[in-house]
Symmetry: C2
Subunit: 113 residues, 2 copies
């Protein structure tokens, strides 16, 4: 699949992998790849600007965690983020329905098969 096929749907992916709990950037990339069975490989140049944008929008909050291990910036969903995720899921459903019905139309009834 084209690598940039995710265009326009990235926000939903990021919010979705953060739903179970906070993650840092590197783990977000791994989570998306794992959940998509290896298909979606996001790049740092893709997610870091996106994470910053989502934080600016108030959908995520971040905190540095330097204790013990390396420094990591952990992101977690805000309440607004959870609401936005619900909206993204609805939009995704409508989107796939629309494209899908054009790409694979249901044949009109009454046609002999």
């Amino acid at each position: 699949m084209r690598a940039d096929a995710v265009r326009g749907h990235l926000d939903g992916l990021l919010l979705a992998v953060l739903e179970p709990g906070p993650l840092h950037g590197y783990a977000i990339i791994a989570a998306v790849q794992h959940r998509s069975d290896g298909v979606l490989e996001l790049r740092t140049g893709t997610i870091y600007p996106a994470l910053n944008r989502l934080e600016r929008l108030g959908l995520l909050s971040s905190s540095w965690q330097s204790t013990g291990e390396r420094r990591r910036r952990c992101y977690e969903l805000t309440d607004a983020g959870r609401r936005s995720l619900a909206g993204e899921r609805t939009a995704w459903s409508e989107f796939t329905t629309a494209i899908g019905s054009v790409l694979n139309p249901t044949p009109p009834p009454g046609v002999a098969t």
Copy 2:
């Protein structure tokens, strides 16, 4: 839905609405809108360059029809276009599976509901 959500999937839409038979540009816009239940409203600035590109790629062939009515440029699928459409459908299926499994993951087995 965002108007440009169709990005990256336009070719498949155009090939799909041309599958039953030849159409001209204006009718293609109407067909996509009709098949998507009014959701997808393509613009002329979107489809005409795309149709030209698909013709250059050998997936469509066009012919002017000036008899009686106004002049119209009718597009129809070539054999390569039909093969490409099959590929677009496969790609769409893989794409929705990948995004969908990130956005709405199936919960791990063994979890009490």
